[in-house]
Subunit: 190 residues, 2 copies
Amino acid sequence: MEQLKQKILSEGIVLPGNVLKVDSFLNHQIDPVLVMAMGEELARRFADAVIDRVLTVEASGIAIGLAAAYALGVPLVFAKKSKSVLMTEDAYTAAVYSYTKKVTNQISVLKRFLPSGESVLIVDDFLANGEASLGLAELVHQASSSVAGVGIAVDKAFQPGHDRLLHAGYRLESLAVIESLDGGRVHFRE
Amino acid sequence: MEQLKQKILSEGIVLPGNVLKVDSFLNHQIDPVLVMAMGEELARRFADAVIDRVLTVEASGIAIGLAAAYALGVPLVFAKKSKSVLMTEDAYTAAVYSYTKKVTNQISVLKRFLPSGESVLIVDDFLANGEASLGLAELVHQASSSVAGVGIAVDKAFQPGHDRLLHAGYRLESLAVIESLDGGRVHFRE
């Protein structure tokens, strides 16, 4: 998505350790026009798929998740994060390891907001190691629903998540695919 | 806002302790059409005000914050929550006590996303004790900006927050003002 790529080039900040900061328009300050356009683009790419619901995880997935769900005309559900292993009969839960924070979070969704037999689109702002997307997919499987695909804003394809999702058989649509951050510059995959 | 009130009546769940659950359309599962309409209604109510930016707090404020910012044509910034007292020179921080969770969180915004001299609209999904809104207002004051007003989805006006905000001199616009939850039923203020 050209508009997103241009924004990454003009405002993204590359830090040591393959970190790309996009907090000026995506996950701290948010550009609402860009985010709503990203939702429309995800809806366009998945126009051929049956999608009953969009699933994301708090907090920074909520904006693009809302934009995609609005464009698709379906409900959004966001999984909640907690450090405690709070298992209840009412919720589906999965473990998600954060490589940046070096901590395992539990993500959970109340069962009544993830019905069985649906086709669910997973949406997130970033794809790096794929832990969040695979955790969300696990929630969908626990609910006896199927994953229609994974829609990502910024896909750091040189990290394991991109290939992990493809090898697991998921359809992946990323609005900006980053080949490398070598030399402190953003190189997109064409 | 009639559409929101009807949704609260049909899907809101009143629990003991003056708890109103609206997690089927506002803060776990989200109804995107309703939330975007709520953003438009907030923009309409503040149409006479100068607004440079919308400020909310993660996680459940992000959806309505995005909707309001999109309708107003301004950026959204969401404050981040952390339990640790992480003071950095780069961030404005304020303490917010959660009466439900009985814990004090620090909320913070990077200084570069809260410039001085602006007029900032504070938006949140719920108003109960007013801690979150007053904490966000404190961040705005630290930034030497002014509060254009506070826009709330569900205002539990029988709890202290409503009057605390008015007594502090803030303009308050709430889309649904709840007079009481007596007898396990939702009574709106007319």
